[in-house]
């Protein structure tokens, strides 16, 4: 879509999404490595304060969803929220299309969540215990459970893609129809929407993982209580 970052090798077109994604990944990895290089418990530097604020916020959010120790889930969900939030903020830069405005990126991120659900589920309950959750209310519901796995992944991807892409497109149409400075309020709204969507993506990932991890715990408790 953006010819500035496009490359063609032997007839294979590499879109700008690939380059922007790689740049964002390198930038965030470098920043994280720099920020966590000299951590200390007294006399915090500015960077460490920022990192600790972010980690504390993510931990608190995940703890609210899970109701248990959030440590195993913080790396995945924290990285997802950080990456998506940063990508969505790129929509204010001219000539750069946020990678999340490409359905491929959004789908890839949703597939990561889809793969993380059985990973954490199997880690907690074992393979057999996790597979049993698919037939849990009744074996007749197995196709619906499988279908739900696919559709919620698709919904996760299309939600992120649609929100970011529509913001971009509204800005472009406004420039076309009205003029240079008219889309600025819409872009500010887009920044808000982008950050909220990153948060939503993280919370939904946490909810999906929690549903796979805690399903037997709750049932067990009910059996014991009743």
């Amino acid at each position: 879509m953006n010819p500035l970052f496009e490359l063609a090798f032997w007839g294979v077109l590499i879109p700008d999404t690939v380059f922007v994604t790689i740049a964002v990944t390198l930038l965030l990895t470098g920043l994280a490595a720099l920020a966590s290089r000299r951590l200390k418990s007294h006399g915090l530097s500015r960077w460490q304060t920022v990192v600790e604020l972010y980690c504390g916020w993510i931990r608190g959010t995940i703890r609210d969803v899970f109701g248990e120790d959030p440590t195993p889930y913080v790396p995945l969900i924290g990285t997802l929220v950080l990456f998506i939030g940063f990508c969505n903020l790129l929509s204010v830069l001219p000539m750069v299309r946020p990678p999340t405005a490409d359905l491929n990126t959004a789908l890839a991120l949703a597939l990561v969540v889809m793969a993380a659900v059985p990973f954490y589920g199997i880690r907690r309950h074992g393979l057999w215990g996790y597979l049993r959750t698919y037939v849990r209310p009744h074996p007749l519901l197995l196709p619906l459970n499988l279908l739900g796995e696919v559709t919620r992944t698709l919904a996760l991807a299309v939600r992120l893609f649609g929100n970011v892409m529509s913001g971009q497109m509204i800005g472009a149409i406004m420039v076309l129809v009205a003029g240079a400075l008219v889309p600025v309020p819409l872009m500010i709204l887009g920044v808000l929407t982008g950050l909220i969507q990153a948060y939503i993506f993280g919370v939904l990932a946490a909810v999906f993982i929690a549903a796979a991890v805690q399903v037997d715990v709750r049932r067990h408790k009910e059996v014991h209580d009743g």
Binding site: A155, V158, R159, F161, G162, N163, S166, I200, L204
Partner: protein
């Protein structure tokens, strides 16, 4: 006499408009209901405001995603219509 491509384009444009119309009215009503319920709850229990507003945000994004699906369908009809030659 219109050829089939023109007819298909006209129908696609009208359908895209209808999709966005219906698909934005219904989620708007749903979101309104959600906000009313959340404000009610916050007025009753101001100390639970943070939990309620967080749940409200997530729920609103879920409701709003139906509108986004309609928008995506409309954009596919307009810009990536698979039936237009």
């Amino acid at each position: 006499m219109m050829d089939s491509n023109t007819l298909l384009s006209a129908i696609s444009i009208v359908t895209a408009g209808l999709t966005v119309m219906v698909g934005s009215v219904a989620p708007a009503l749903g979101e309104g209901k959600a906000v009313v319920a959340a404000l009610d709850a916050i007025a009753r229990q101001p100390e639970a405001a943070s939990t309620i507003s967080r749940t409200l945000f997530v729920g609103m994004a879920m409701v709003e995603s139906t509108a986004i699906y309609c928008l995506v369908v409309a954009l596919v009809l307009l810009f990536a219509n698979p039936f237009l030659g």
